[in-house]
């Protein structure tokens, strides 16, 4: 007797469950694509609004009451000098802290406190850092609303995240490197300096660059410090000041503005023409931020191959 082939088909509840499962896939995919496409949409809208303003003039002009003439020049100088001060004052301290935590600190209560403290500091809102900078640097230390005060404030803000990233980088270095060096007679510091650090540097740099790109976009803290929205000079030292320490320092004590503050000022300007300026400034700033992130990614990739 030939047996009929029997097709086994699920029925009832099983079909529903399987359908739900398959359908949900698209639901979840949709959510992910929504998140991803928002980025694309924001970029498109910004370029659409701001492209008309983009020009060399936009980068070299000062703010003005005429929207077509208003430019980012002082803001760009301010951002660059501010980043320089921030980098110089935060990176050595952050790397030092990370080395201390990973390599030299005795494993006791103090170390735990430092680690917990760093994790908490990383989560403190930036406006609180602004209040701190206003009280300590601007008022107490008498730095007034200067690049220095802004730079030190941002430095304090990004030290925690830089430390954490540097810690990660140092931890990635295989312990055998360290142990091998000490076994061959090196002191602890020698082992760290010649064997551990060189291998951790790419990771440290990546973390540093990401922290800097975070500082570039910071607005609230700098507004609290007293960044201006209408400046018609170039903040920071001049070319001639490189030979003149006093002049250089005076340059750092100048009042300033930065690109995010200009974006803020132009965004809330009730004259609609300035929205294009805000959008164009966003394009400039995002170009900078993306370049930094790209640099970090490139470094990470290049050094990973070894």
């Amino acid at each position: 007797m030939a047996s009929e082939s029997v097709r086994l088909r699920a029925g009832g509840a099983v079909v529903r469950r399987q359908f739900a499962s398959r359908a949900s896939r698209y639901l979840f995919l949709g959510a992910t694509l929504l998140g991803v496409s928002i980025l694309g949409f924001l970029a498109y809208d910004t370029v659409d609004t701001g492209a008309s303003r983009l020009s060399l003039d936009f980068l070299t002009n000062y703010p003005s009451r005429f929207a077509e003439k208003a430019g980012l020049r002082p803001a760009i100088f301010g951002t660059l000098w501010l980043m320089l001060i921030t980098i110089v004052s935060s990176i050595p301290i952050a790397i030092g802290t990370a080395i201390w935590i990973e390599e030299f600190a005795p494993r006791n209560r103090l170390l735990t406190i430092v680690k917990i403290n760093l994790a908490n500091l990383a989560g403190v809102p930036s406006i609180i850092y602004g209040i701190l900078g206003l009280t300590i640097f601007v008022r107490f230390a008498g730095m007034d609303r200067s690049l220095l005060a802004g730079g030190f404030t941002l430095a304090l803000m990004i030290i925690p995240m830089t430390v954490i990233a540097s810690q990660e980088a140092i931890r990635q270095v295989p312990p055998s490197l360290r142990d091998g060096a000490v076994a061959l007679g090196a002191t602890r510091w020698q082992a760290v300096r010649h064997n551990v650090l060189p291998n951790a540097i790419p990771g440290i740099m990546t973390g540093t660059i990401l922290s800097i790109s975070r500082a570039v976009g910071e607005t609230a803290a700098l507004l609290m410090i007293g960044g201006f929205t209408f400046i018609r000079f170039d903040p920071g030292p001049n070319l001639t000041d490189f030979a003149d320490p006093a002049g250089f320092w005076a340059g750092l004590e100048e009042s300033f503005t930065v690109v995010p503050i200009q974006i803020y000022a132009w965004s809330i300007d009730s004259r609609r023409e300035f929205q294009a300026n805000a959008a164009a400034a966003i394009i400039v700033m995002m170009a900078g931020v993306m370049a930094l992130n790209l640099l970090a990614a490139v470094i990470r990739e290049r050094f990973r191959r070894n």
Partner: protein
Amino acid sequence: MTVSDPGNMNEALRKRQFSRPGESVILFILTLCAAVSLVTTLLIVGVLVRESATFFEQVSFKEFFLETEWQPLFEPISFGIWELVAGTLLVTFWALVIAVPIGLAAAVYLSEYAHPNTRKVLKPILEALAGVPTVVYAYFALTFVTQDLLRPAFGADQVNVFNALSASIMLAVMILPTIASISEDAMANVPRDLREAAYGLGATRLEVTIRVVFPAALSGIIAAILLAIARVVGETMIVAIAAGSTPQLTVNPFEGVQTMTGFMLQVGLGDAARGTVDYQALFAVGMMLFLITLAFNVAAHFFVGRYREEYE
């Protein structure tokens, strides 16, 4: 026993640690570096406590916590914190309502459904959203979201030009990567055997996700949400620009409100007279903000610790 654990080195090695001259200086410098972060926290707490203390000499705790009106400048002057807290709560609530479902859905997709190659492409793009400076989101909240989205959708009469919802929408965009990323990590950490066992019993992928992975990754998901809340509460630019500066108790997201951070920025910008009570209100509100975000961050870390423990 390896040298990698400095606390357990034996005596001989310990003596050799810094036998070269100058190396103890290096240790000293490194310790100083680490001290900077401790000093920072001490300074933050010190500044906030000291100025808040001066504030509370003039404004009673009762008024601060029991009054509902926040009116530091106009008669009748009143320092009830609740209007600011309500403003913060309103924007936070709507931001979560939008971001948590979408974020979790994205996390589920990336962790359970997506092909590894797709994941490699989509995850970085999603995380790129986290690198966008918040002033950019603020610009969008005020221009695109209010003008081109909310007003056409709900009517220009209904939607105030400064409204809580536009801020909440952009806040949701801001925290989406946080929720998605951390939840996804938590879900990915759930051991395969749990899933395999469920499949073996005939569960569909959806059921495995909802009934097995979710509960297993719950600590991580909660941590993600707590962290996101901390970020939203502490965010300034988006709310200051888009949500307005009208302190009021309302649940209507189409109206303007003022958050704690919005008030703090207003005082900072206005350069209010130092030593006056309205200037010191800045620090009292700052203290509240600091404590609230600290609480959420600590809670988040607690949950992260729990989920790491469970499966490692």
